[in-house]
Symmetry: D2
Subunit: 307 residues, 4 copies
């Protein structure tokens, strides 16, 4: 057998993934370790992932592939919409979702609603590579508060695009209420008549329960619902995304037209490109079967993750 | 925060993945724990993966998705070849690669060469769900010995298909010598003039060094070389496969023709289907760039994994 | 820095010690892994401890130092009593406590009450080095059932010596009820007028809460109460023991007289010797202060460990 | 079973203890994480131990029981010597060994030699509770450099007391050379004719190889050699100490005389007291047998720990 290699330190971040498994990452430096009013926050340097944001013990994004995650979350619907001018981001504390939205020169306003003002302050200070100054873009309006309450009180038909970049619907977390039927109905209400929304949708691996539920729940509300998945190393899993659309279907958009829009809007991309949709949207049989078995999540009977 | 969930036992299998990260799995039962002359063998029940074969501390396959891994390794080249009659499997101790080969009624003989006779005995006894009796198929010939030596001594032009289902090219492992230019040249030699080969090719995640090297090395030998990848939960990673072909290109095979062959040969599949090639073979930009930087592995200068 | 040494396997037993710490042991073989009606049972070979019995994720004893633990639990009170003939052991599933009792040729009967008949069967089969045939000694009577119920229903003044070798008073465990004031009062009742009892008493390290509570609670019932401690490697901690006595005080027994009794009774010892009492019974100031702060545990308000 | 308790964070310090075991501690805050020219330094807040200094992945001392460790290292020999005026401390970077020395009003000068100037700077800033200003005491002289070289070049018969508070003699560490016969001979040389020395002596648990070797090696040089041990929670082990003396034997010092010296010198103690020597110096049979088997460590054939 070969010589074992010594880890770079004796300090480890252990991310519980299911009740019966966890991933251990060696920590080489600590940028920030603390608590806000709402959550535990760690910004760590991990040799495998680089600078990494961890909330309540879960990796949110790392410098290694945050651009893959954020482009995959944001770009398919932004490009599917022929003229996205008004965009709402719910969550997305590290500012990278906002960064992806602002790449489209069609965008006139981007409202970001996040519960945790302290987190945004930490993010601004420690994660400039992530937000890249997005918070200072004059098209941006930051709102600190509950995303659900914002949606409830919002004028109907206000946005072209809504993007939910939320923490997991974990047992006991208030985020659960941003994955229910009632919530998606309200999101439908604040979208324009050709509006489109997307949400991060947990992993189809392990039980895949939340992923399937999100697909089914959005499918109850929107005429067009599409799920897509991609392996994200930082999440140590295949990751799911679900979009709901009133009129435009990403599968109807030709690769040529999509390329044209990227160029016209001067969108600078590192990962996403039109041909990659073949990978994202061609789901394996086992994932399709899982989606079929999904249960609709409601306010009175929400679906959530056990850990 | 939610209540934490207690793991099902206090015994854990910890798989080192890189020098700076590892995956922890709770163990609910132990079917077998021991050593053969060549390697440490564990057959464990893991709540997340089910029955799992572990060699030298690395998951080889689990009941949860071994069919996904083995179909993805075997089916693309078996279907790309119009009439695979004679097949060589190198490695593949759990018998599932053999099982996938034998699904094709075109196959007249399948030779499997594995170094570790004791492992095959353990496999036969403890992993019937994996091999499903393949070792008893009258088309099969089992050879115990070094795969490289077998290939060296084999008659030229003997096989239609060669499948390498080997352990990692880890520092110090003899498997390193089954991933070099010299080895692939010998494999080329024992293939018929329209023969085709495939190998498991490590993960493109982390350094991706071995994956890129395998792609480059096979590319030095075969006129047609294709890499494809898929997330495999048991490997906790996106996983790579590389095929080398003398004449037939899987990308030239239409989905219709592939479906026809599946039916004609009466191949019963759980995961693979013609349309899934769109996912497998559409590689993201970051993986393509990684492949470009691959280094050819040679006997005198082999590429291997540090752990 | 030196070369790191590779652990002997990738399988680990992780013993949670407090909510914020745990000990990891490499597993080299598994003798038994399963569940009885009452508890999870593992019998493991650990390179650091040798053959080890683990119940509900906690090391109960290992071949490395079970003789140290069991002699320290049993011998001080057996030797303090001038003529122990009738002994009750509550718990002590591995049979080693019984073994220590039976070493005294004064003993005419030893009753052992254990809840878990399946565990005794497993013990008999897999731990012969621990029980050394004690279960077959004709002086022994095995009773399967609840230790507390046995004591409740026992004839008063029945035993010279009572030894409690119980699992931890952990949150939710029925063992909690064998550490309360009401229980010790019943034990007092079934002891003869010069009887003596001892219990394993958890660790004075960490919070030391249970240890201090056991000392205070026994002190409410018996005129003579003594605590003593010793580092036990298998428990990865300094370990506590508390004895309650109606008449005889181990601190009044001279080393000479104790040596005489050992010889007269033909007690064969590997660890314990009269002079070691100087170590066991000389408690550091910080432990004495901890004991002062102990809270009496009662049926209606029991003291227990959080994990 | 009871409800499991959630650890206070997902970040852990894992201390390798033997090749086959490790201790995991949850990290609640990080005061400092970095490297000096000589070693990795971490100052962590661990819920179980409080503020803790970690060098090269090993706990050096924690606020929970550093006073127990440092009083036990320093006080027995300081009190055994009737008039310690000149003291040398080798190692002891956190300043707490110095603090214990300075408690004796007999001390006129205390020289401390430590290799790592950067570490002392970190210590001064982050560990005021440990050094308590000792570095500023006018009797103190700090020397940055190799302890062995200092001893080699020192005037013979210069010190009453020498205290070695060194890191482990781990494979590859330069500290190995401060545990050899040649080194102890030099220490003998720089002590006055009634001088006395002590060293931390690793754990008698696990292999106990270093502990036994230190005892044997000092025994080759000094007419009076005594080993003593105590459980130290921060080291997660019974810990050993070995003293070598030219004239005075701690076992000849009555508890009364020792108490008188404590009072006369106005030594303020939290843990140590004369009666505790009964515990410290009464070694169990298994440790005595281990000491008998110790091997003398020499410059050409040093004894060291594998990890």
């Amino acid at each position: 057998m070969g010589q074992p290699v010594k880890p770079s330190s004796s300090n480890w971040f252990i991310e519980q993934q299911t009740p019966n498994s966890a991933h251990m990452y060696c920590i080489s430096s600590v940028y920030y370790l603390g608590k806000t009013k709402f959550q535990d926050v760690a910004i760590l340097e991990l040799p495998d992932l680089g600078k990494t944001l961890v909330l309540d013990g879960k990796v949110q994004s790392s410098i290694r592939d945050e651009y893959i995650y954020h482009e995959t979350l944001v770009q398919p619907i932004m490009l599917t919409h022929p003229n996205p001018r008004s965009v709402l981001v719910i969550g997305g504390g590290e500012g990278a979702t906002l960064r992806e939205v602002l790449k489209h020169n069609t965008v006139e306003e981007a409202v970001m609603v996040d519960l945790d003002e302290e987190l945004i302050e930490i993010t601004k200070k420690y994660l400039p590579e992530f937000h890249q100054g997005s918070f200072d873009d004059k098209r941006v309006r930051l709102v600190f508060g509950d995303g659900r309450k914002f949606v409830e009180e919002c004028t109907p038909g206000r946005f072209d695009v809504v993007i939910c970049d939320l923490t997991d619907p974990a047992a006991g977390s208030p985020a659960i209420m941003l994955y229910t039927l009632e919530f998606y109905r309200m999101v439908y209400g604040i979208l324009k008549e050709d509006g489109i929304m997307v949400t991060q949708a947990e992993s189809p691996s392990h039980t895949g329960r939340s992923f399937a539920s999100i697909y089914k729940t959005i499918g109850e509300v929107f005429p067009i619902t599409r799920a897509y998945t991609l392996y994200i190393q930082s999440f140590d899993a295949e990751w799911g995304f679900v979009l709901g659309s009133k009129r435009f279907d990403p599968l109807d958009l030709t690769e040529e037209e999509e390329a044209r829009r990227i160029e016209a809007r001067r969108v600078n991309l590192r990962f996403y490109e039109p041909r990659i949709k073949r990978r994202l949207f061609t789901l394996p049989r086992n994932i399709l079967e899982l989606m079929d078995r999904g249960v609709v999540s409601t306010d009175s009977n929400p679906v959530y993750e056990p850990v």
